[in-house]
Symmetry: D2
Subunit: 424 residues, 4 copies
Amino acid sequence: MAIEHVAVRKLSEQYSAIRSLSEKLALKLQSEDTIIQAMPDVSPPKWHLAHTTWFFERFILREKDESYVPYNPQFDYLFNSYYEKIGSYHPRHSRGVLSRPSMEEVYAYRQHVNDAILHLLDQYHDQPPQEIYDLIEIGLQHEQQHQELLLTDVKYNFSCNPLLPKFAETNSAKRSPLKTETAFIDIEGGLVEIGFEGPGFSFDNERPRHKVYLEPYRLASHPVTNGEYIAFIEAGGYDQPEHWLSDGWATVKKEKWKHPLYWRKTEDGWYTFTLTGEKKLNLDEPVCHVSFYEADAFARWSGKRLPTEAEWEHACERLDHAGNFVENEVYHPTAEEEQTHSSIKKAYGDVWEWTSSPYTSYPRSQPLEGALGEYNAKFMCNQIVLRGGSCATSKTHIRPAYRNFFQADKRWQFSGLRLAEDKA
Amino acid sequence: MAIEHVAVRKLSEQYSAIRSLSEKLALKLQSEDTIIQAMPDVSPPKWHLAHTTWFFERFILREKDESYVPYNPQFDYLFNSYYEKIGSYHPRHSRGVLSRPSMEEVYAYRQHVNDAILHLLDQYHDQPPQEIYDLIEIGLQHEQQHQELLLTDVKYNFSCNPLLPKFAETNSAKRSPLKTETAFIDIEGGLVEIGFEGPGFSFDNERPRHKVYLEPYRLASHPVTNGEYIAFIEAGGYDQPEHWLSDGWATVKKEKWKHPLYWRKTEDGWYTFTLTGEKKLNLDEPVCHVSFYEADAFARWSGKRLPTEAEWEHACERLDHAGNFVENEVYHPTAEEEQTHSSIKKAYGDVWEWTSSPYTSYPRSQPLEGALGEYNAKFMCNQIVLRGGSCATSKTHIRPAYRNFFQADKRWQFSGLRLAEDKA
Amino acid sequence: MAIEHVAVRKLSEQYSAIRSLSEKLALKLQSEDTIIQAMPDVSPPKWHLAHTTWFFERFILREKDESYVPYNPQFDYLFNSYYEKIGSYHPRHSRGVLSRPSMEEVYAYRQHVNDAILHLLDQYHDQPPQEIYDLIEIGLQHEQQHQELLLTDVKYNFSCNPLLPKFAETNSAKRSPLKTETAFIDIEGGLVEIGFEGPGFSFDNERPRHKVYLEPYRLASHPVTNGEYIAFIEAGGYDQPEHWLSDGWATVKKEKWKHPLYWRKTEDGWYTFTLTGEKKLNLDEPVCHVSFYEADAFARWSGKRLPTEAEWEHACERLDHAGNFVENEVYHPTAEEEQTHSSIKKAYGDVWEWTSSPYTSYPRSQPLEGALGEYNAKFMCNQIVLRGGSCATSKTHIRPAYRNFFQADKRWQFSGLRLAEDKA
Amino acid sequence: MAIEHVAVRKLSEQYSAIRSLSEKLALKLQSEDTIIQAMPDVSPPKWHLAHTTWFFERFILREKDESYVPYNPQFDYLFNSYYEKIGSYHPRHSRGVLSRPSMEEVYAYRQHVNDAILHLLDQYHDQPPQEIYDLIEIGLQHEQQHQELLLTDVKYNFSCNPLLPKFAETNSAKRSPLKTETAFIDIEGGLVEIGFEGPGFSFDNERPRHKVYLEPYRLASHPVTNGEYIAFIEAGGYDQPEHWLSDGWATVKKEKWKHPLYWRKTEDGWYTFTLTGEKKLNLDEPVCHVSFYEADAFARWSGKRLPTEAEWEHACERLDHAGNFVENEVYHPTAEEEQTHSSIKKAYGDVWEWTSSPYTSYPRSQPLEGALGEYNAKFMCNQIVLRGGSCATSKTHIRPAYRNFFQADKRWQFSGLRLAEDKA
């Protein structure tokens, strides 16, 4: 959940803790790894490290600290991601050509900005002004988002190298001795409320809390597993257009998809590439790295459907947020260990869950003012909402109202699904 | 509104009336015009004439009339549009290579199928079986949809020819002597119902009628006019990323959009290409041939927003459906002639109105069974709902619950917009 | 061979004879056939008819006849193919959108220009001025080139239609009762001359006659046959990179080539699409519709090579020019009927023969002045020379020195090959 | 010039000297620089270092040394460039994703292979077997080619980074105090010989020496300078289609070329990016980084032409080979310092000179046997010959008969031009 509203010292500590995780992750890489961009969707790790730093520099230091001297004025062009109001920026698909600034210089840049931010906070004896507080908070949430992207991007980059490098050594988790069976949990619906309200941080796209009418429905107790997904593959799911959305079927044919991203079939069964190397597929783990198209087709083939984001949030907002997050250092979804299936499990962590909801504005929602208004609102077209966080998300980052979003064909995030159905 | 539930004789008459309009439109073309496909989104007129005929042959005659002999078995491949369950089909983008069958043969094919359909209906003395009735009805609705597409496709094809051919001579309409001003009409909202219910035809995507919660809102009395849209252009709207969705801005830059499709600026002011030739732009007509991206950017620039499809339907479902439809033979949106602006005008006809709603499934909606289930449901991704019909729509085709849908970048339909805003 | 230098009356007759062949060919088509452009390399038949007419209008009537009134000033834009000096022109890949002018109007345009040209010639009592003569002559040669293109383009267009229309009925030719075997004919070489010299027409790219040094070589008595080419296919030629140029192998993989264009393998053996419909492949006919890449790979696989254009011209310039040309109305290469193989056969007609020579300028060659200088010279890059004419070439059009040229991956012309080798 | 035929000790010394230059160049880079591939034509520096090593491993150690254990069997896939006979290989355009093996590992790989090669040579007391000698020699020539590519690729990569990194510090050369004027030198031509013959190394594509007939011609005393090229730009050369080959003009429009690669116009005049940073353009230096299309258009605009490769070789084969080569460590073409222009200057070094000759096989030429036959022969299509070497070429690598070749649109090599004309 969101950062608590705290005194300056606490905020400085949070700042340092969150910022240092980025470096901790990056230090597992060799310097050449930090500059790879194996497809336009991913960014080089070095770029993530510099861009998140630029975010603090540009939106806080340069706006609120008159004494601040920018580290390098050209970084505005190099490390602006997409804020049109700030000015022109380096093309996204060409981030992989930026061998300079070197990693040494990027670390120096981070140090320079960290020092300036902490110095700025030190000037306030007790509480920083609300505006400063809010900007630091969004900067830290932003850093956490890029920590997840750094992991998914490294995974993609490494998967393209026939040497299949490992990001980390296996942090072996206990394995489920007994196969759980998915149950469907009844939920009443009616005129309910969703969206964020109350203390703590939320993005503009989660607000305001508002009324939605839901027909009665049922939500699966668990995310779909690899074993369940293999049944779809073996039944010919990737060869049968009747399960697929039209755009999805076109993608399946064009990309020659036959299984989730990172899977490989051998005589010895299915293998999958992970951040700890290629592994034999564990059938009880949640299926991962599927696109919305695949999630939707699987659901249709199952005679079920995906939940709407309102159904998901209404069903999950009071659940415990414990789960398999980036702090666990497993970097991969894990199998459920409890046999009970009378309640909703694994809603948080492990895999982002595709909903059936296109990403749109909530009624009476207001984007942030200024360039930060571009943070979320301008992407509200041709994207689908995912909920619940993943094994690469920080546990302090996720909330019930949190809305992640990607295009329907994207698969390189830790994206899975949970089934729903109408209640008779 | 939908075809009434009628006796055989009435159904046969409707069949003949609707089918003959396709030929009436096609007869305005020279034979070479019937085979042009100037971009993948459009289909050659000849293809529309054959495909709508194939629809009756394939889904009625071949399923329900054992004595029927297909006109040419290869037509299943040539004139299937996208029904995967039926089998493979000629690629959409290559419809323009089909110089054969010749127009003469396509007319013979239409006659052959018409004769067989009418013969089939004749076998029922009073009422046809419900299933036959339903199939004829969807076939006729389908024919009407393709009549509209034939017009929009001919317009696009002709616009690509420097000779700027005319589809028809101007059917000069009265012009508004006084400029009307747009007012905003208050609407209460609350827990309302939308979706089709009751007698008459509807598509599966309009059903079932279901509850939706609406905050109070205000809807513009008129569609946005050319004059209002020019103010956006002249204010630099096409050069300012802050008004645009991210995908929209990328499209503006890639396609070098500076104004709606078919407009041309001269020293003498703005001109627009129409089905009756290039004309000086009438500032009081509804703006037309704008994409969702442009509609959304215009609304944002205006300090307003687009309505959701639920807001549109709730506000307009009890309005009179009179309007400027294809039967008027104007083939172009017309200016409002009344000065009053205390109510919602021009909701039906003239221009399709972009809503802010992505095209998704209604709660508990059921697609049709079999291949016809592909008619609507599989397109429920990456498309936006438009409402109200246009000057190229049949007046017997439109309904309050009718959902049209296109991708956000499409502009060759008669697509405009109407503004909305939150009620304080 | 080239048009003789003749009196006005003879020139007028030649003009009418050559121009009317275009119409004779076009009259075999239905009007919709005249507007198809199934790939960017081909042009619609109607465009050929109008462009060749524009050539006479633009380069003769508008330059040399002050009284001439252009038929339609917009045709300068529509029917200029690539003459940059003349001004901008309709994009090549979009010729298929030009349903207007209608065929009726194009025939009227042809008549208008024909009348004006014949009227212009009538003004000269005996001999036209040399300049007029030369322009008429190049206009007629140009018309003949487009007659061949019209045939190859119709063939390609028709091949893309699953109905496989026929351009003409089979004009059945006698078939060879005995299989001929290819022999290799010794040729001395040394310091020889190639290039056009002497009376009659030639293009600028064939001049001047100039010295070339040739090592002794041997040239095959016959073009490679379908039967010989099938041996290459069956030996795995399309799967073995070692026979292919690097660009050729990339093309084979990208285009998934497995055989010449228009071939289809059935349980009943190989079939090929021809201008008279799909036919069982005659193994004794010259192989046709192969790219330079395929011709070169076949030669390499055979342990031979392609001849240079100088080798071809030196060996063939004194041979009889009789052969299977467009006048035969077979529209397809035919099998050799004589058993003797002691001399070079079929050098003229049947199939254009790929040489190993890139298309470059002859030493001291001078392009024509003005816009007609663009006719040939600007294409002297990334193209390969073919020699000898085909079954779609006019017999009055070909010469020993004639240089045809296409990119190495093109296959829709009647292009085959003849082998050569070094003489020990 | 080619490596002398020498004793084992001398060969070992040459091996070590040439191999170590690659490392010396790479050591000027930061580790992230070694993995950048800013366009498909360039390769990451690390890849060059590994590929040249693989060449020795694959073609010598694995073929000729039974005791050799490959460093890593996967390197066969990763570092094979294009030898189809060896097996499949990593796609060229994806070399930039290979962050692993790390630079440390690549240096270890180089050491491993160097040790094995020197060990192998040590086994021969005096002279190595001819076959071993020839393979070492081609491996070293190959290494030198990749040293030049490493420089041109780093230059391109760095030019795409807005920070404009420097590869080296300026090694300031003396500048010409007096502007030289280009003269044209008369050459007789006749039946001459070109091609390599005699002792020393040559590639298969330079052999055999053979007769060519040349008309009398004149060759410019100097390469075209920046100042001369600017006159072409200022005369509107890039806006006038009449100077350009058809493919060239299409490229100019598509790529929006307005000047050579790396040039930038400022209010202060022209600047150019070099391996020692961005510099004010020296008007007396040879123009560089022009495509064949630009070279040809400049020549046409000048009323001259490019020489054929035979004209170039015949005129230059007896000239001194001194010049500005990679050993000078200037990494940029330099201005001529002598005022005399009575002879051909700067034929070797500074800039590769585009000829008018497509890259084809010499008469009776024999490619090497086995996979090394792919080294040169399979590229003999759609490429143009360049002669003379550049400031990035080793002085021990170039020869009069040396044929370099690139596609007509390539500009990232140090490519310039020298004019020729017919002798009256």
